[in-house]
């Protein structure tokens, strides 16, 4: 239900102003018009920060380093100051204010880069991002900002990614299997989000769950590609405990967090918790599956890819069902999109020999077109079901 729909109901005389107010409060609806402003503001903030970073990278010798430092600092503090003024002091442009705080946090990273550039510091890249992350870590709570929290999660992902790809790192994991770690990190975010639902920080739970499931889907999807993880040199110095530890953490968070899904029945709470934990277990197992000894020019579906494709399909279906019960359009759409992508990957993976290629193209092409129509119909029906209040359902 949208804020605008409730407004229209009141204008049509179907509900009173008091009832409208109660509905808005009950569903915690927010004004729709603000979304466009939010998107525009955040795109603007990212553009400003990226522009400043590029100007820094251009390295203008003509500007004295003191001027560069003071300008960088002034921009960062100015962005936060203006954000605070609009959001907390005047309170009339909260979303623009949040976007300016967002730019301010990105500008802190730009300033770290600037100092490194001016003094030719050659520190480990992971330390640069870790410093940035530590510097902004308190801001989501101090500003009560979901955008800052999303940035914090992004920061964790970047720090983690850069660290595991560093050859000198204690948690080195710089081969193709690192996608498993990112997918597990996504599940850790999701589980954390579920746990946050019943805490003082419940306004951050949606961000953690959304980012987490998106990261999980993006990084576990390659497992369904024919030949993925089936061949390649594995360095002996790769960390051995990180993946099982992250898997255990993801499973633990998911299982304990699912009890907070109050919109689901007990049976579905358990099912979804076990599904998330099972996904973590499968990701850990994928790391220990023996690789092929022979290299193939064209990858073919290995047992790992087949299991992943089936598991991904089942996960997508369960996610759609949970999305329907949770009335979450995001869960439904994400599930449907990745089921479709899974089918496409499987189709390509099972692509037969050259003799049947033409026939396969025609039959499978027609099938995909029809299946796409079917999926779209299904999606629309599910979305309609979400938008219909529970009481009105047959």
């Amino acid at each position: 239900m949208k804020y605008g729909d409730v407004q229209k109901l009141q204008e049509a005389g179907l509900i009173t102003d008091e009832q409208r107010q109660k509905i808005v409060e009950h569903f915690q609806l927010k004004e729709d018009g603000g979304k466009f402003l939010v998107i525009i503001s955040f795109i603007g903030a990212v553009l400003v920060a990226a522009g400043v970073a590029l100007l820094i990278a251009a390295h203008w010798d003509e500007i004295p380093r003191g001027v560069k430092l003071i300008s960088g600092l002034a921009l960062m503090l100015g962005a936060h100051g203006a954000g605070w003024w609009l959001r907390d002091a005047r309170k009339n442009y909260p979303r623009t204010g949040e976007a300016l705080h967002f730019a301010g946090s990105l500008l802190f990273l730009a300033n770290i880069a600037l100092v490194g550039q001016i003094y030719h510091l050659s520190s480990r890249p992971a330390n640069v991002f870790l410093l940035w992350w530590v510097g902004i870590a308190a801001l989501p709570w101090l500003l009560r900002s979901a955008a800052q929290f999303a940035l914090l999660l992004l920061g964790i992902g970047i720090c983690f990614g850069v660290e595991i790809n560093d050859a000198t790192s204690l948690i080195r994991f710089d081969d193709e299997h690192q996608v498993l770690l990112y997918a597990l990190l996504g599940l850790v975010f999701t589980g954390s989000g579920l746990l946050l639902r019943k805490s003082y920080n419940r306004d951050f739970s949606r961000v953690a769950e959304t980012v987490g499931l998106l990261v999980f889907a993006i990084f576990s999807y390659p497992l369904t590609w024919a030949g993925f993880l089936s061949w390649g040199y594995r360095h002996a110095e790769l960390n051995q405990w990180l993946l099982p530890a992250l898997g255990a953490l993801a499973a633990l968070l998911a299982l304990s967090g699912c009890r907070h899904l109050t919109a689901l029945s007990q049976q579905w709470r358990v099912t979804w918790g076990v599904t998330l934990a099972g996904a973590a277990a499968l990701l850990v197992t994928a790391n220990f599956v023996a690789q092929q000894n022979e290299w193939h020019w064209f990858g073919h579906m290995t047992p790992l890819n087949t299991v992943a494709a089936i598991a991904f399909f089942i996960f997508g279906l369960l996610q759609v069902q949970v999305g329907v019960q949770e009335r979450s359009g995001f869960l439904v759409n994400l599930g449907v999109v990745f089921i479709a992508l899974d089918l496409i990957a499987t189709y390509i993976g099972l692509f037969g020999s050259m003799a049947f290629t033409g026939l396969m193209f025609i039959v499978s092409g027609a099938f995909l077109i029809l299946f796409a129509v079917f999926l779209e119909k299904k999606r629309r029906a599910l979305m309609k079901q979400i938008k219909t209040p529970k009481e009105a359902r047959p």
Partner: protein, 180 residues
């Protein structure tokens, strides 16, 4: 209360930026300035732009200069202390090295670095990184031709910093401007 904490976080962020700048400025201003021979390759950093990777003659330290003796299979990242002394052509060269800190003799400077086994070095030497390997330059000027020399400030702590790089004796930015 939250506003105060928010201001405290911003103050800490600013303090790091200014504090790092002050420490680096102090190193550049007070450190003993030495000249090193170097060569370069030119990649690009996503955040900090074009830079030269400087490979110094002192980067490969012969194992026979280590005291106590060291072998090539020194663990990656081991702290290495390297003493340098000037030669007749004013460039500094390695006189001795150790995995333990020691006091440099008169006329010597002590540099602190880390062993880096991921880089190739000759069979009888250990590759050492001093934190002097990057020199950030203006956009599109990372391809100098000519003899490169680096002017390095070395404080008592041994954590040295590049002060300037010269191309055929001219400051880098000036030399590259003339070639445009």
């Amino acid at each position: 209360m939250k506003t105060k904490l928010f201001i405290l976080v911003l103050a800490l962020q600013s303090a790091w930026i200014l504090g790092t700048a002050i420490v680096q400025e102090h190193t550049l201003a007070s450190g003993k300035v030495i000249l090193l021979e170097t060569a370069r390759v030119d990649p690009r950093d996503l955040l900090r732009g074009d830079y030269l990777i400087l490979n110094y003659k002192i980067s490969d330290v012969p194992v026979n200069l280590f005291s106590p003796p060291a072998t090539k299979d020194l663990p990656n990242g081991t702290k290495i202390y390297v003493a340098l002394a000037p030669t007749t052509n004013q460039f500094y060269v390695v006189t001795r090295a150790s995995a333990n800190e020691f006091t440099p003799a008169a006329g010597e400077v002590l540099l602190r670095g880390k062993s880096d086994q991921s880089r190739w070095s000759s069979t009888n030497s250990i590759h050492v990184e001093y934190g002097l390997e990057r020199f950030y330059v203006a956009e599109g000027t990372g391809n100098p031709t000519g003899k490169l020399t680096a002017q390095v400030a070395v404080p008592a702590s041994g954590r040295s910093r590049v002060k300037e790089v010269f191309v055929d004796g001219k400051p880098y930015a000036e030399a590259m401007k003339e070639r445009r």
